[in-house]
Each structure stands twice: as C-alpha cells, then as structure tokens.
Symmetry: C2
Subunit: 552 residues, 2 copies
C-alpha cells in the first residue's frame, strides 16, 4: 500500500463547507418569510440530529426517510444521515398513498422526518407501515404537539427531538461501498424500484458535478436547486453545495416562476437547476414583465428530466445571457450521465452561435469515468454515426448494478445498465436521446420520435406546451397524435401546426390529429405524463380521425 | 452490491479526450518548429507504444522510465504505460549521474524512453544500471541508429519501435490500487525517495484538478504546462488534458520567458502552470516589451513549488488580467494539496481587491477529500487561529502512505504524511506555509521565516530575486543572511534593503547581512536552492559581520 486508501465517505465532502466557509448562508423560503442559517450552524444541527437518531437506536445501514420540501432541515438530513452511516431515503411527496405504502414498507424506513404541512399525506398510511417507529415533525411555527398521523406511532417535534444533543460528531469510518441513500423511480410500469446509492458512488458523483465541464459548481456560486431534494437526491447538488461552501437558496415548496425569479434577484443566485417546464414558466414570466427582475448575477441554469427545446435554450442565452446546460441522467445514474455545455470544445469559441446551439441541443457528452453504448435487440453495439438508433446502455462508478431487493434482470446486461432510452450517438460522441422506449411511436415498422415532434411544435411562438403520444391503429400499429396548449393571447389551428411540421418531417411522420387542451399533465418530476394522456384519451373513447371516418 | 464498482483505472479517463474530441490538437515546440498531432493520433500511437512494450515483455507493474522533455512522445508514454498496467517512472533529467544511477536501480527500470539530446546524460551510467534491458530513443530528425549510451544495451529508435504495431488496445482490468506512476523526490538529505502512485490515487487527483475551485481545467482550455512532465507528473495536468480533450501545448525543453510568451500568443493559451521564478521571468519580459505579445486569451496561471510574492500576483492581475492561482503540494501529495483562487468565496465578490489579495497570498484551502493538521513536536494538534505554528500533516486518498521500498517511519504518523513544512492555518482554514522545516531560521529560540523575508525583499522594485538563508551563530544558534540579485538597470545598497525590512519585521528578525550576487541557484524544479547557497557560503569561508568583527 503505497498511497493512502482513505475510504470515500460522504462526511469528508459534506463537512468541508462548514470548515472553509463557516459563515456562508443557507437561505430557505418559508411561507412567512426567509430563514437564514450559516453552514457552521447547519453542521452543528446536523450533528445534533445524528446524535438524536443515534439515541433512538438508528445505526449503520438503517433507513431514515425524509418527507420534506427543499429547506434547511432537509439539508441537515442530507448532512447527518449518510455521515452517521445510516441511509437517507428521500420519499417523493407527490406519490399517491398506494405507492408511498409500498415504498416505505419495501425500504423498511424506521424513522420519517416530515414537514408539518405534509402530514395529511401520511395519514392514509396509518396502520399500514408497521416498520415506522417514529415520526419527526418539522414545523415553522409553534412546536408540533398532539396526535401524529399514524395511530400508535410516536410523533415528536424536530426541534425538540434534536434539542440538548451534542453539536459535534466524530463520524464513523465505514467501508466506502456502504449504502448511504435510497431513491425510488417514479415507475411507469409495475412497482417503484429502489436505487441504493453507496458512499463511493455519491462521493465520485459529487466530485464530478463540480468539474468545470459538468455543472461547474463553485464556492463562488449562489445555487438554487428547483429540482426537489426528493428527486434523485436533488441531482446531487445539495451534497456539492455542502462541499464547496457556496451560498445556497432553498425554495421551500415554491415552484412558481414569480417566486423563483424573486429569489434569483433578491439573493443574487448564479446557478439554478430545473426541468424544461420550469424554464418555460420562467421565460413566460420574464416576457410578461421584462423589467421586473435584476438577473445580472444569474449565469447558468441546468436542464434535465427531458430535452429542452432549442428555442428555449436560445431565448435564455439571447435575452438573459444565461447558459442552459442540458444534462441527461436518471435515478439509476445518481443521476448525472451526460452534459452539454454551450461551448463544448475549445474550437467552438470560433463557431457560429447557431452551430454551437446545434451541439447543445444534443443531450451531451459523457461525464469522465462513464461509458455509453447503443445496441440492437441482440445487444450488438451500433455505430456512433448520428444515424443508428439503439437502446442506450451506460456503465461506470456511479451507475446502479441492481435494484434494491428487487431483481430486474432485464434492466442489467453484462455489467451495463439498460436505460430504457432509445438514442443515437454521433461522431463527436454526443448523445441524442430519441425517446423513452415506451414513448417511441412505431408506425408501419418505422420509429417516429415523439420528442422531436414535440420540440418542433413548441418552437411555434403561439404554442405554450406540446405533447405527442401514440394511438393504436389497426394497419400502421401506432400513429402520433399531438396535444397542444396555446400560449395566452394567441390563436392557432391544427392546420398551422401540421404545416409547421411539414417543414421538417416526412409525411408519414406527421401527427394524424392535433388536439387543443388547456393543460398537459406532468409527472411528479415535471415531465410530460404520457401515461396519463394516453389513459385520458382511452377513457374519453378517442379514435384517430381515419378510424372515426371508417366507423361513421 | 447495489452500485457498480467499476475500478478507478487511468485509461477510463485518459482515453476520453480521444473519443469526445478526436480532432483536438497536441502542439509540441521542437528545435526546428512546431509539431502537431490530434488526440486521436496520440491515442493510436500510445496503443502502438503499449503493444511494442508488451511485445518486449513489459507487463503488469513493470517499470518503464521516461527521460524526456515536455513533448508529444512523453504524452504518449503518459497515456500508454499506466493504461497497459505498467508503471510510468518519470526520471528527473536535471539530476546528476549518482542520483540517476541510484534511482534507476532502485526503481528497477526495464526500459528507458529517452530524448536523443539527453543520451549524453545516460552515458556515464554505462555498466551501472543492469536492470535496464532497452533504450528507446526519440529523435526529431533521422531515425536513431548506431551505438546506444549504455554498453551492451539494445537501443532502438522510438518510431521504429512502435512501427507496425496495432493502433488499438483493449486495456486490462486491474485492481484500482495497482501502481501506475513513480516519482522520486529531488531529495535534500539522504537518497532520493520514491512515491508510487496508484490508479486510484491519480484518478481521484485528476478529477480534483478539473474541479472548478481547483485548477478548473476544461475542454475549452488551451493548456501549456511549463512544469516539466518529469516533476510530480507535471502536477497531474497531462492526465487531465487527455481526459478533458482540451488543446495542449508542450514546450519541449524551452523554459525561457520569450519562448513561452511566443507560444501563449501564437497558440491562444488560456492557462499555464509554473513556479515563481518562471512567472518573474515572464513579468520581466513583458515589462521589457509591453506590446510584443497578444495575451488576450490567457486568463490564469498556476503557481506552485514555493509561495509567489504578493506583488507578483498583483502584477499579473493588474497588468494582464490574469489570475495567479497559488497551490501547495509536494511529490508525496500527487501533488495538489491546497489551492487559493482569487475569489475564494462568494462574499469576496464584494471584497476590496486588496483584501482578496491578502487571502490568495496564503497557500490556499484544502482540495475536497483531503485533511490538514498542524501539530507540535509531540503531535498534539494546534489551533487553527492564524497564530500557532506547527509541523504540517496531511491525509487523504491521493497522499502517500509510504515511500517505495524505503521505510521512513518518521515521515508518516498514524495515517498522516508528515510534510516537513512548517505552517499556520487560519480561521478560514487557509494554509499559510511558514517555511520548509529545514529552511526555518531558529534565532535565540524563536523562529524566523526566510520565506516572509524573501517575499518582502523581492517586493522592492529594484530587486529581481532574493534568498534568505541561515548562518551559524555561537550565541543565537542561527542568524538570517539575505542574498539579493539587483534588477537590470537598477541600483541598490544593503541599507535600503534593511530599511525596507524594518517597516515590517522586528529588529531581531532582520538579516545580519545583505550580499549582492549575479544570480541565485535554483533546484531542478525551479525553487531557490538553499542547500547550494549555504554550501557556497561555507566554501568561501563566509562569516557573519558580528563574527568577522570578533575575529579581526
């Protein structure tokens, strides 16, 4: 052993900010104003929390669940639970009671730390989640007292729970492959599946997030993660913030663009993470009131979940001088897999802006240390030529190798994760996501990309949102149908949408129908929920125009 | 095993640039012009080299030495040798024959790849380094032929050696703790000591180098490492460059400021690494010809080896708009330990520039994942208050835990590396190097920092370089003596130097003598060579003025 083999444990990273920048601020938006505490105080409170959990009997590998918005106590959970050797299970508070019941039991959560306003969501689970021994309630006003949401389960106020505990810890030395965090995929088929992150995987991911060519997070940043901390660990950003010692702004339960823009301006936010629907809302709010916010300090936003339209990326650059960094990943990849920066290569300094935007409209290049392949149905590798379309595989040190206590052999192949995404890879090793396998439309033996159609339709100024889903067809197997939300104050008809699509797509790729709706359903993570759209169409007895004609 | 345990092997990083930026250029300055080849070609040639070495019988753990300047073939060694599972031993070509003989035999190098102009330095070792089976000669003109420098040792031309080999490799999967690189410290006492880096340690160091708050290396950079690739693996920068896929400029054997400035301007260099003496030379050259070079693209330089004077850092910022990033490290730390950026904290955006420069004059804050302590002689930790001075300890995943086949128990203590540096740590966790232990001056039981005196003296405009060394004194134990090189065209006497020092130092800390010299000897890594200065003073029978008076 010639070099030290210091285990890669999260506390070595997350304690750093409190040492190098003890006075830096954690800002939380609450219903009644702004809460501020320093990183030094955050670490002290995290130690008190860890000591309180330890007193309760929580030990190595035990699951402690959070059921919380983005706030300072959730951040204390991020710092305390992995550092003490337990597992932070971030419950998705947008799930229904049946999924929550399944997940809590499957994880075997012993303690749930929950925001008070979310307790009604736990009440239906009373008597059904026997593994839970204690509920710790985070309240913003008076200390919580009285009955908890679960009959017979002890319920205490967070502040009372940690009060009187020592505010320092000597964290345990563990094997770096010990579990530290648990996330369940929101699951489009079957039960939700858990991904158990390890100290090693999240440690390496945290370093990667802070690399200049990734999110480039820095001590000089002021970071507002709109991505919920219960979604793929907030893309790992809270861990990175604790490490760099930057200023961080936690948006509570606020997701509306005006509240976010107010925070950007008042706190001097430099970087923010979100999904396309968030950024479309921000764009609309700024367009409605162009002079309301000083966004001088904002210099980049990251966009994941699904591909942002190129027109949206371009608007952020042209109007705000803000780089939209597109990333691709999933819960199973911790989550960062690929990233697309505005200037991806040195030579691009001299590239025309349009060509730069053509590159960043792709889902990005590999984060160092990961490997990508696209394969056919027999797992033969396909060429990286920007033409071949195949199932996307990924591997590397922060990629899942199995689901937690839930064998899913078809999702893993010879050391690779089978992502369920269908993609191309071009000569420059840029990933181009064609679609989720289940969202691809197979018409007459050929694939139609719903994502390409959506992005093209949404580039029409009169369109606020668009979704394209498959509908069954006896001859062609499936045919695309577009659902369109018209922008406020605009008018648009189906022919205009189709004409716009004709400029780019072959005739057989055009939607068979354009349906106008007031809104488009989104998943808990802000993606277009095609499952719900398809179910609604089925319920209303929708038929493709050509079939209606036949039927009549 | 819930997450993949992909071993952290160097080829996963160093192959990346050739995939994501195959057409990016590696530029080498040669005696007769500029050599250019792409990253794709570099990887192909590295594979040919690995296959040639494999054919010779080089396998896992075998040492392959480089005896080369900064050039593209040396970069091919960096890519090939670790990837194939062998150990890259970068021989310091500034060492004398006795040290070289010791090091080559101690390492057991089987092959040496040497630049042709350096062969005369190997000739004195003929018959003394029996472990060496083959010399591979890199020539810029005709292929090398004829007798090699070592009698009876087969010697071949590099291009002939790799010709005809397959230009692709499937690198072996190894344990991540396998050795991959070997560097010897230049050694001020006793024999040189080897540090055997592992794949894991260098992999993690490479990621750290590319973090935004470290060197922030990026695909968008054009990097010129003035630091020799034979010195602490060029600070790890060549590995990072192969990973990011940036443009890189290799300066051959050129170290003079005019040659470097020519490359900065002609190649559009954005970042360069060097030591204080390099940057002082660059400053002098620009001052002499302020309009000669377009340095618009240069935006930061990194400075290690010893602390740069604050006046130098300020000049780069004020005159060139270039951030000088001070780093601290040593061969035993792979080498990056701490780093000081101009804007180290978000709040500093609003700090007056003078206060920012007060922070960066310190040696920096810890790179994430490392830990620092200062201790007294019984290894009791001392407070981080900016006052307490102690021996500096460091630990973490890229810190040496032993020397290669050379037990030095006093250099390691309970998992920490004992650095030999004497330092303070302030409340902001900034490291402030007081001195190398051996360079501290102990006068009347109190320590005097030679580095503080040097930096203060060199801030005089009339001073080009300054060194302060201890001289023996029967009463005080040691007393400081200053050696000063006057800037061209300036005049200065000893009283002016002392008067300048009085403004900051106590009377007992002032040098007893100021000696004017034409130059100051430097070590092979560009640091002031105090050992040589002290030896020269001894040889010339130098005595402190107070002792001369007594003697006469």
């Amino acid at each position: 052993m010639t070099m030290q083999r210091t285990p890669l444990l999260m506390h070595r990273l997350t304690d750093r900010g409190a040492r190098v920048a003890p006075d830096e601020t954690v800002v939380t938006l609450k219903a009644d104003g702004i809460h501020r505490q320093t990183l030094a105080v955050t670490r002290k409170r995290a130690c008190q929390l860890a000591n309180a959990l330890g007193s309760h009997g929580i030990g190595h590998g035990d699951r402690v669940a959070s059921f919380q918005w983005n706030n300072h106590r959730h951040l204390e959970m991020y710092q305390a639970v992995p550092s003490m050797g337990a597992v932070l299970h971030t419950l998705n508070l947008r799930l229904g009671p049946a999924d929550l019941e399944y997940i809590i039991n499957h994880a075997g959560d012993r303690v749930i730390v929950a925001d008070q306003d979310l307790l009604p969501l736990l009440a239906p689970l009373s008597g059904k989640i026997g593994c839970v021994e204690k509920i710790v309630v985070c309240s913003d006003g008076d200390a919580f007292s009285g009955d908890g949401p679960l009959a017979g389960v002890e319920t205490v106020d967070y502040e009372e729970f940690i009060a009187g505990q020592l505010d320092d810890c000597s964290w345990p030395e563990l094997d770096e492959n010990s579990p530290m965090g648990l996330c369940y995929t929101s699951g489009t088929t079957g039960n939700p599946k858990g991904v158990m992150y390890t100290h090693r995987s999240t440690y390496l991911h945290t370093m990667a997030v802070c690399m200049t060519d990734a999110l480039g997070l820095s001590a000089t940043d002021c970071v507002l993660g709109v991505v919920p901390m219960f979604h793929a660990m907030g893309w790992g950003v809270p861990f990175a913030n604790l490490m760099t010692g930057c200023r961080q702004v936690l948006n509570g339960s606020a997701m509306d663009p005006v509240a976010l823009l107010d925070l950007y301006a008042s706190e001097g936010v430099t970087v923010s993470t979100g999904v396309p629907t968030i950024w479309q809302g921000v764009m609309a709010a700024v367009q409605a009131e162009p002079d309301r916010w000083d966004l001088e300090r904002l210099n980049r936003v990251t966009c994941g979940g699904s591909a942002p339209p190129a027109s949206l990326m371009r608007w952020f650059w042209d109007e705000l001088g803000v780089e939209m960094i597109q990333g691709w990943g999933m819960t199973e990849t911790n989550p960062l897999g690929t990233i697309s920066r505005r200037v991806a290569k040195y030579a691009d300094h001299d590239l025309p802006l349009d060509e730069q935007f053509a590159n960043i409209a792709k889902a990005g290049q590999l984060i160092p240390g990961l490997e990508l392949e696209i394969v056919d149905e027999e797992f033969n590798p396909l060429p990286h030529d920007g033409e071949a379309v195949g199932e996307l595989l990924i591997r590397g040190p922060w990629i899942a190798s199995e689901y937690y206590n839930d064998p899913q052999p078809t999702k893993f192949h010879e050391g690779w994760l089978v992502t369920g995404d269908v993609a191309k890879i071009d000569e420059g090793e840029y990933l181009i996501i064609a679609d989720r396998s289940k969202d691809m439309i197979k018409s007459g033996g050929e694939w139609i990309s719903s994502v390409d159609l959506e992005n093209h339709i949404v580039s029409l100024p009169a369109v606020a949102q668009a979704a394209v889903v498959a509908q069954p067809h006896p001859k062609w197997d499936e045919r695309p149908v577009a659902i369109v939300v018209v922008a406020e104050g605009s008018g648009l008809d189906a022919d205009e949408v189709l004409k716009h699509c004709e400029s780019r797509f072959a005739k057989w790729q055009l939607p068979d129908d354009v349906l106008f709706r007031d809104s488009i359903p989104l998943t808990s993570t802000g993606k277009i929920d095609k499952k719900v759209i398809r179910a609604a169409l089925e319920e209303e007895g929708y038929q493709l125009p050509s079939l209606q004609a036949e039927a009549s």
